[in-house]
Amino acid sequence: MLMEKPSAGLWRKIKARYNLVGNSCKTCGKAYFPPRIVCRKCGRESKMENKKFSGNGEVYSFTKIRVPPDTFKDEAPYIVGVVKLDEGPMVEGHILENGTEIKIGTKVRSAFRRMYVDGEEGLIYYHYKFEPV
């Protein structure tokens, strides 16, 4: 039911999930999230370095999920969307409803939340979500 069980799977993604750490290519400057091993544009000339994104951006597209996967069945309805970060990359994520109407172009910031909990005894998966500013 869950997307992942082993601790290592969570551990590898902590920097990206907590702090939106992706990377960018020193050769051309293009930024990526999630991080890529090779720059799409520069190929073998690419020089990738870690980049922490601000978490600020705007809603590019969104939808309200009413028929969720099992993992999120108690959370529905909820909003997922694509956020265009200020630094360029498009990032998919949950968008919190905090009273501000969500529209295309709504300014958001990254928030820190539980994404899912593995039963009574498993790990708790923390993750960025986006929140209207």
Partner: protein
């Protein structure tokens, strides 16, 4: 001596009114509101816990301080609702604020005063020059057994303080701190128990009032300060009545405690309570103002602090998220069944 170089707060957007709890248990809402001095309380979202609250507050504290997070060399998180029994909340907070790896971290538990105990620990490290800057957070999604009097007050929220001693960074000097501790079984939760138990009226006189008064009097004795030396005072606030009464007993006016008295509108945020009260008071304080803070944790103990605001406070003020703004923005009221769902109290098997 060490001082506060930045602070941050977090309060969930969800609220439940006393009336919505009282009608489930056939209680008189007006009598409860009058008796406890509380109108409504915060409720954590389903995706919020003591770790997420501590992270949000700590991130705001880092922004407010103006420090690079890799300058923070200690992270202590006080809570009585740590998400894991074994697996520190403090490591999650350390990682999420972007601190490095050469960081002293630990989780603390001392009922409602674990956050201020963390502040004292960081002060010790800073004053002994073992570290330059450290962060102490108090954060809780506190539990109240359905139908118990605590259900009206146990809420969620948190605050974080970054402590250092670099003069140009300090917005408030911590002039003195003392503690008063005894072994008093007024409130407890055993390992694996879903809800705390308490000694009813025993939580008052021999617990809350005795410890807060003795810690505060000890602070007066060791500093020579008296209530009129302080512009503001913050006392732990399990409900709206206790802090008002203890302030009066110690010689403080209602005006002195007004900015930091938050429980009537957000409930008791446990480890966050005194620290949120201090943050709300710093939001309105000016250079030179002295603030007294005395926390209380069941079990039992109190930490008392004499704090004096510096003229650096105005430089950092525009970077802070004000407690009152957070309380009043985006409130979402929930009914009792949604409250139970959010708290994870509805079992499916």
């Amino acid at each position: 001596m060490a001082g506060i170089v930045g602070y941050g707060v977090y309060i969930p957007i969800y609220r439940i009114r006393v009336e919505d709890i009282a009608k489930v248990w056939n209680e008189d809402a007006e009598a409860i509101k009058h008796g406890l001095g509380i109108r409504e309380k915060t409720v954590p979202g389903r995706d919020e816990d003591a770790a997420t609250i501590a992270v949000e507050a700590s991130r705001r504290a880092v922004v407010h301080s103006g420090l690079s997070p890799d300058k923070i060399q200690a992270v202590y998180v006080g809570s009585e609702s740590h998400p894991y029994a074994v697996k520190p909340t403090a490591t999650i907070v350390k990682e999420a604020i972007g601190a490095g790896t050469a960081v002293m971290t630990s989780d603390l538990e001392f009922a409602c005063k674990a956050g201020t105990a963390g502040m004292q620990m960081v002060m010790g490290l800073v004053d002994s020059r073992m570290i330059e800057y450290g962060l102490a957070a108090g954060s809780d999604t506190s539990q109240g057994r359905p139908g118990d009097a605590l259900e009206y007050t146990a809420s969620a929220g948190g605050a974080a303080f970054i402590i250092g001693k670099e003069k140009k960074e300090v917005i408030a000097d911590i002039l003195k701190t003392v503690s008063y501790t005894t072994d008093t079984p007024d409130f407890w939760r055993r390992e694996g128990a879903g809800f705390p138990s308490h000694g009813g009226r025993f939580t008052g006189e021999p617990a809350y009032f005795k410890h807060i008064q003795n810690a505060t009097k000890l602070l007066f004795e060791t500093t020579g300060f008296k209530p009129t030396d302080f512009k503001y005072a913050v006392f732990h606030q399990p409900n709206g009545k206790f802090p008002t009464n203890v302030a009066k007993m110690l010689g403080f006016s209602e005006k002195q405690i007004e900015p930091g008295l938050l429980t009537p509108i957000i409930g008791n945020t446990y480890s966050g309570a005194s620290m949120l009260g201090l943050a709300a008071t710093l939001d309105v304080a000016n250079a030179g103002d002295k603030i007294l803070v005395t926390s209380f944790g069941s079990g039992a103990g109190s930490d008392s602090f004499a704090i004096q605001v510096t003229d650096r406070i105005d430089d950092k003020r525009k970077r802070s998220v004000k407690v009152q703004d957070l309380i009043n923005a985006h409130k979402k009221y929930v009914d009792y069944s949604t409250y139970l769902k959010n708290r994870g109290s509805i079992r499916k098997r």
